[in-house]
Amino acid sequence: MSTPNAEPDLLYSEEEEALRAAVRDLLTDHCGPAAVIARTESDTPYDPALWKQLAEGMGLAGLLIPEVRGGQGASHREVAVVLEELGRAVAPVPYLTSAVVATEALLACDDAELLERLASGRTVGALAVSLTTAPGAPFATARVEGGSLHGELTSVADAVAADVLLVPADDDNLYAVAADAVTRTPRIPLDLTRPLATVTLDGAPGRSLGPAEPAVRRALRAGAGLLASEQLGVADWALTETVRYLKERKQFNRPVGGFQALKHRLAQLWLEVVSLRAAARAAADALTTGHDTGLTVAVAQSYASPVAVHATEEALQLHGGLGMTWEHPVHLYLKRAKADSLAYGSAGAHREAVAGLADLPIPASG
């Protein structure tokens, strides 16, 4: 069992805190819960205006992309801070899918043209792999026939928002396919803020970007690792909002938050959230440094999913009847947390990965 040579940097730098403040200000002004709920019932569940402000206005779409490719040359640590804030607002923008997952796939292929387009934020990319796929797990592919792509790929997140799809094919290559060259059939998602679609390719033209396997693996690993920061944002909102509510809400002539049964539940939740913060920071730092990355990402992701779900379930229960209403935003967070618990590999899939990486082998069969 190897011990890390150096401990990861688990704090936030001043620059990261400044970035957080800027993103939070923008989301406070342009991504209130009522607007998010209203948008989930509209034809465009994601918010193109908000995306434009984040991506073009603040340059956040290109954080992971080197400056020579038109990006900011920042690291996963900064992206993690952005995702914490997007999670805290359950923002309906394709940030994780385009600026992290699709971008990482393109970085693996070093495709200058698409990287520059994604960096500007004017082009949105989506990796055409099921959202449930764990890093290292097998994934469905399109068929290459007569120089064009055929087949059906399911559960592709944010495909409806994308301008370009990155499609793995059965010739082991990853292809760039214009979104308007395929049929995207929206499915009704549990999490309305992260739309899913089935992508049908019927002789779609594609441009080969390079080998699919390493690109998809890298993309999903970054997606899984940084999803923990989104889940941290979701859990942190649930805790903060529930504590605030329980200080105000009175029953039996006392603030509900003064009852010990509830205090202990919230204190326990707080402990889970601060622990998730350490795990998510470790994953972001490991993705940045490349040190101990596989294990740190798997640890963070297997810990994050149950905590985010628990936090939002507690928030719902402790808001009483209000928590069951469509009007109160807690359901947005519960749905995001539950869907996130399946995204880029379930906690169980990541626990299996930990078992392998930490040398805790499964019993021999029999």
Binding site: M1, T3, P4, E7, P8, D9, L10, L11, V243, L246, K247, R254, P255, G257, G258, Q260, K263, H264, L266, A267, Q268, W270, L271, V274, S275, L276, R277, A278, A279, R281, A282, V299, S302, Y303, R351, E352, V354, A355, A358, D359, L360, P361, I362, P363, A364
Partner: protein, 393 residues
């Protein structure tokens, strides 16, 4: 301003003047204290240089690199972690000069006389009396759960000096001489078979007023310094991966495939992950403290480690199969340290039951987190303004 380079230079000077190879251990430790390199964040003349606390690592690394003798922070943990910061904050110049050097070198071991049979989590309910007689205070009462009492030269003690005041107001803080004839230490045997703790009976113990820490009646506030430092030291540990209880279990799992079952595998991997996340949380707290941004995580680390230790050690007993039915040694021993790794799984299982009780029960700590960290309303208090003598006991 003392910086890292300055500390390195001073450390090299110390090593040149007192070569570890030809200096006895105690002599070296005393010289290190006098050079201000014991705890660099303490004031000059008291073992420090008024330097940032984070720079201690510079000195420690330089000295460790040449194998210089060190004190034994685990053996003298109560002195280092609880008595010293309290003496530093509330002690007179004479008290600081008298107590801090032998405390740090380990020449004098300290214990802590806080808990009583009737006052555990409700510490301010304590009934040990201190009555003023001339220049002395005369102490009568009983304390419990006192580790190291049989080894200690000094104790930090809280006692009631005003039974007519409400329970938090009538307490005073003292340094008690454990060699006083009125101090009787009796081993307290535990479920593990060993006697790690003691009961301490105090009968007419005389403490000079010059050994009082802080003002008369201000003992509760002084004790808060002690308790806060206890929590920081519990939360500020640096652990390597698998450095805690999960280590021996993972080792057994790797070495003995015949013991593996699928059900145990699920539980083991889940606990391994939780142990690693708790380790990272403690590491984040350490980094915050070093960066001068103390976080609240310390209050939670003890809760997390207590639960983890209990779950992991419980799993370990099951993992061992038939061996799990056995125990290594029921002899009544008097260990100086809690030695989790030197004993068998059954010992770890039983001893870890204390982790959610000692130093504040998990239930009380959850209240503290809820009230001080999350700002939730405090528990209703029926004892706050009532004179201590009128409270039901």
């Amino acid at each position: 301003m003392t910086d890292a380079a300055e500390l390195r230079r001073r450390t090299q000077e110390l090593l040149a003047a007192h070569p570890p190879a030809t200096t006895d251990r105690l002599g070296f430790l005393r010289a290190r204290f006098d050079a201000g390199l014991a705890w660099v964040h303490y004031p000059e003349g008291l073992g420090g240089l008024g330097a940032p606390r984070s720079l201690q690592a510079v000195v420690d690394e330089e000295l460790a690199a040449v194998g210089a003798p060190d004190n034994d922070p685990r053996r003298i943990g109560i002195g280092l972690g609880m008595a010293a910061p309290t003496v530093l904050r509330y002690g007179t110049d004479e008290q600081k000069a008298r107590f801090l050097r032998p405390l740090w070198t380990g020449e004098e071991v300290w214990c802590q006389l806080f808990s009583e049979p009737g006052a555990g989590s409700d510490l301010a309910a304590l009934g040990t009396r201190a009555v003023r007689e001339g220049e002395d205070w005369v102490i009568d009462g009983q304390k419990v759960w006192t580790s190291s009492a049989h080894l200690a030269r000094w104790a930090i003690l809280i006692a009631r000096t005003d039974p007519d005041a409400p329970k938090h107001a009538g307490i005073t803080y003292f340094v008690c001489d454990m060699t006083d004839p009125g101090v009787e230490v009796r081993p307290l045997r535990q479920i593990t078979g060993e006697a790690e703790f003691n009961e301490v009976f105090l009968t007419g113990v005389r403490i000079p007023d010059s050994h009082r820490l802080g003002e008369v009646g201000d003992g509760w506030r002084v004790a808060q310094t002690t308790l806060m430092n206890e929590r920081v030291s519990i939360g500020g540990m640096r652990l390597p991966r698998e450095g805690g209880m999960i280590g021996p279990v993972a080792k057994t799992w790797r070495e003995r495939p015949a013991l593996r079952t699928h059900e145990l595998h699920q539980r083991l991997v889940k606990l391994w992950i939780e142990a690693e996340v708790s380790r990272l949380t403690a590491e984040r707290l350490r980094q915050q403290l070093n960066a001068g941004q103390p976080g609240y995580e310390g209050s939670g680390m003890k809760l997390a480690f207590a639960r983890l230790n209990q779950e992991i050690s419980g799993l370990e007993v099951e993992l061992r199969g038939e061996e799990g039915l056995l125990y290594d040694d029921w002899t009544m021993r008097r260990p100086e340290l809690v030695d989790f790794t030197g004993r068998d799984a059954g010992y770890r299982y039983l001893r870890s039951k204390g982790n959610s009780i000692e130093g504040g029960t998990s239930e009380v700590l959850l209240n503290i987190v809820a009230e001080r960290v999350l700002g939730l309303p405090a528990e209703p208090r029926t004892d706050k303004d009532v004179p201590w003598k009128d409270l039901a006991r």
